[in-house]
């Protein structure tokens, strides 16, 4: 079964000179059909389970009303990341100097090395990353930077409102440099 029986009835003879029509079996080889079946099964199994969306957890702190309730961070361990429009990223370490000399421009590709450097050079308990998305940046930018925290296993980070000074600095730098993307 399951293959073409081509042997026919070669065993018996009717007589000399009598030609016999070959008897073909009606059985079909099912192997390719089974192959195809299993191929499709594999396809469906994979497509059903692989496209599950994942959830990224975010825990936000309760707003502290009084300044003394807020968490203190050591200046040396703080890095502030600002998100501008068109996927621009800016950062500064510690406090922003009045003349904005430590305000640096970067991109999503390079921010990882910046964060890794900062992480290697700072004692773990002092390291705090402050994320300040500007009003021009997109939801994707925020998720990407939060994801960057997960990728680099930075446990202390905070989403903080941007200051007007910083917003204007971003505007200034975006005006001077062409957007990277």
């Amino acid at each position: 079964m399951a293959e073409m029986d081509t042997s026919g009835g070669g065993g018996h003879k009717k007589g000399p000179g009598v030609k016999k029509g070959k008897k073909l079996s009606t059985r079909v080889d099912l192997t390719p059909m089974v192959d195809l079946g299993f191929l499709l099964i594999t396809f469906f199994i994979f497509t059903t389970t692989m496209s599950q969306p994942t959830a990224m957890k975010l825990t936000v702190p309760k707003d502290a009303d009084k300044p003394e309730d807020q968490n203190k961070a050591k200046e040396s361990g703080v890095i502030t990341i600002l998100l501008g429009k068109d996927n621009n990223v800016f950062y500064y370490e510690g406090q922003l100097t009045p003349n904005a000399s430590n305000f640096k421009s970067t991109s999503f590709k390079e921010i990882r090395t910046v964060l890794i450097d900062k992480k290697r050079n700072t004692p773990e308990q002092d390291l705090v990353v402050i994320l300040k998305p500007s009003s021009q940046c997109t939801y994707k930018n925020v998720i990407d930077i939060l994801d960057e925290m997960a990728i680099n296993v930075l446990k202390r980070y905070a989403l903080v409102d941007i200051l007007a000074v910083e917003e204007s600095l971003i505007k200034l730098s975006e005006g001077s440099t062409a957007p990277t993307k």
């Binding site: 079964m1 399951a2 293959e3 080889d29 099912l30 192997t31 059909m33 089974v34 079946g37 299993f38 499709l40 099964i41 469906f44 199994i45 497509t47 059903t48 599950q52 969306p53 994942t54 959830a55 990224m56 957890k57 975010l58 825990t59 936000v60 702190p61 309760k62 707003d63 998100l83 990882r112 890794i116 992480k119 998305p133 500007s134 009003s135 021009q136 940046c137 997109t138 939801y139 994707k140 930018n141 925020v142 998720i143 990407d144 939060l146 994801d147 997960a150 990728i151 680099n152 296993v153 446990k155 989403l159 409102d161």
Partner: protein
């Protein structure tokens, strides 16, 4: 001595049975595959390395579309009824409770909720609806909605609060949503993303390689 001659067996196997099984399984998988329902609100979610699968039931989902419009979706119809009744009582909105219960999502200012519910379900498309107004921080209506949701779940196990945002949504709307969560004392929520592998050589990748458990 005559020995019983064993019949010579053919090595060919009957494929019919296997074929039957294969196609039975195939039809099973085809039929059980849930194709993504045509979404009323088009949202392209960003990628993240988060590995936890998003909850599929008992959720309250805030949807943020690409124009920054906010919609609210929940799956518990019983709770929806409670919410509609309480909103009718406190704000005398005169909502059609049945229509509210069957509505897949909510996406209109409180004042025009009745006319929103009057639109047939299949015509409610995210891009044509105003969404829940959130940007005015003094009158963030999502706060009212979430309060009603929280009240409905009072004393029960809290549902999962999800936020499904579009890549192109601007930060102010995202912030308004976070603020609405915060005002209702919801400090933990989850953002729906597409899975992505941890980039090679990073700390997270190393942790995954050594099998260390990460904090979620």
């Amino acid at each position: 001595m005559g020995r019983a001659k064993l019949p010579r067996k053919s090595t060919n196997i009957d494929m019919t049975a296997m074929c039957d099984v294969a196609f039975l399984l195939l039809s099973f998988f085809i039929l059980t595959t849930k194709f993504k329902p045509a979404e009323a609100i088009a949202v392209t979610t960003p990628n993240s390395v988060a590995a936890k699968v998003a909850p599929q039931k008992d959720y309250i989902m805030v949807i943020l579309d690409k124009d920054g419009k906010v919609f609210l979706e929940m799956d518990d119809k019983g709770k929806k009824e409670t919410i509609a009744n309480s909103l009718n009582a406190t704000r005398s909105l005169n909502l059609n409770v049945q229509a509210f219960k069957n509505a897949l999502f909510i996406g209109a200012p409180l004042g025009s909720m009745s006319s929103f519910l009057a639109i047939p379900e299949e015509n409610r498309k995210g891009d044509k609806l105003p969404g829940i107004p959130v940007l005015d921080s003094a009158n963030n209506e999502l706060v009212i909605w979430l309060r009603a949701v929280k009240d409905a779940y009072l004393g029960l196990k809290e549902p999962a609060f999800l936020l499904k945002g579009d890549n192109m949504a601007k930060y102010p709307s995202f912030k308004a949503v976070i603020d609405a969560f915060k005002k209702n004392e919801i400090f933990k929520f989850q953002m729906i993303t597409n899975p992505e592998a941890a980039p090679l050589g990073t700390d997270l990748w190393r942790m995954n390689q050594t099998g260390e458990k990460r904090e979620e």
